[in-house]
């Protein structure tokens, strides 16, 4: 039964890879769709709290972030380990929030301004004192739509 013998020594046919770039491109576009550019480098450690009743923030361009947490270990020698705020790329104090919000607001389209949302990304172990201060500052700055950033709790 020569049918199954390997006497022929046939060459292995080469794998056609011409569609590989298309596959990779499709994957690339998928990634580009579902992700957004990381804008800031975090200087504070933020482990966001967990919750179950979450709402998605709709338009990324309307969202401004405020980070609250302890400085990262590399910066701790310089900045101490007190809880700090981060606006954009630098550490800030609570009174600077108003200016920051005003700046962010003016960089938006006018019709979008009422829908501006401030997302507070604060560490789980933060004390409410600083968050209350931030909330008061946001009220003063008329940024009334806020969102407490949380991750989904997995039970």
């Amino acid at each position: 039964m020569g049918k199954f013998s390997k006497a022929g020594g046939r060459e292995m046919p080469e794998l056609n890879t011409s569609s590989l770039p298309d596959l990779v491109f499709a994957f690339l576009f998928f990634i580009m769709m579902v992700t957004s550019m990381r804008e800031v480098t975090l200087k504070v450690q933020v482990r966001i709290p967990q919750a179950t009743e979450l709402q998605k923030l709709e338009k990324k361009s309307l969202v401004t972030f405020i980070y609250i947490g302890k400085p990262t270990p590399e910066l701790r020698t310089k900045m101490g380990s007190e809880t700090r705020l981060q606006l954009n790329d630098q550490f800030a104090e609570v009174p600077e929030i108003q200016d920051y919000i005003a700046r962010e607001k003016s960089s938006m389209k006018e019709e979008d301004q009422p829908f501006m949302t401030v997302s507070i990304k604060a560490d789980q172990d933060t004390k409410m004192g600083i968050i209350t201060d931030v909330k008061q500052a946001l009220r003063e700055a008329y940024a009334l739509k806020i969102s407490y950033s949380c991750s989904k709790r997995i039970d």
């Binding site: 919750a51 909330k135 950033s149």
Partner: protein
Amino acid sequence: MGKKRKTPGINGSSSADIAFMLLIFFLITTSMDTDQGLARRLPRPVPKDQKNEDVDIKKRNIVVVLISSTNQIMWGGEVINVKQLKDKAKEFIQNRSNASDLPEKLEVDVPYFGKQMVTKNHVISLQNDRGTNYQVYIDVQNELVAAYNDLRNQISKEKFGKLYEDLNEDQSKAVRMIYPQKISEAEPKNYGGK
């Protein structure tokens, strides 16, 4: 020399590498997380020249949820744990038995539903200490929102056979009229030391 020469095909074997490089670049520079959280609306700022007048709210309509600096939760003077909070809140918002110490019910004309008795003026006042832990605060907020969502889902299921979030805009507005979300984050006060 009259022979027509064939144009050689461009070697495309490296385009996969190029695409891979782009892919890796995007993977590094982007972050996957879609931001989600608990959406809240802050009250308007109080003008500085205005005296801080307390708005007149009937006592039965308001409940104070206080989180102390030791992260204990008080529901109107009674110490409870987080798990009880949802049921307490539901009972308070709904006032099914029309009890006199729970929020009063007023008749409201709601589209789709007709005349409904609604605890329109209820307020859940959330107060916290400066020393309260953020995670506990979020837990409490989460439970309160969960209470509202439960009630809304329940009534949407009864009426429309769908969950609240699947309703169209008019329908969800009607449901919101029956169970308006009234969580007030009070002006900061300092209870006790840090």
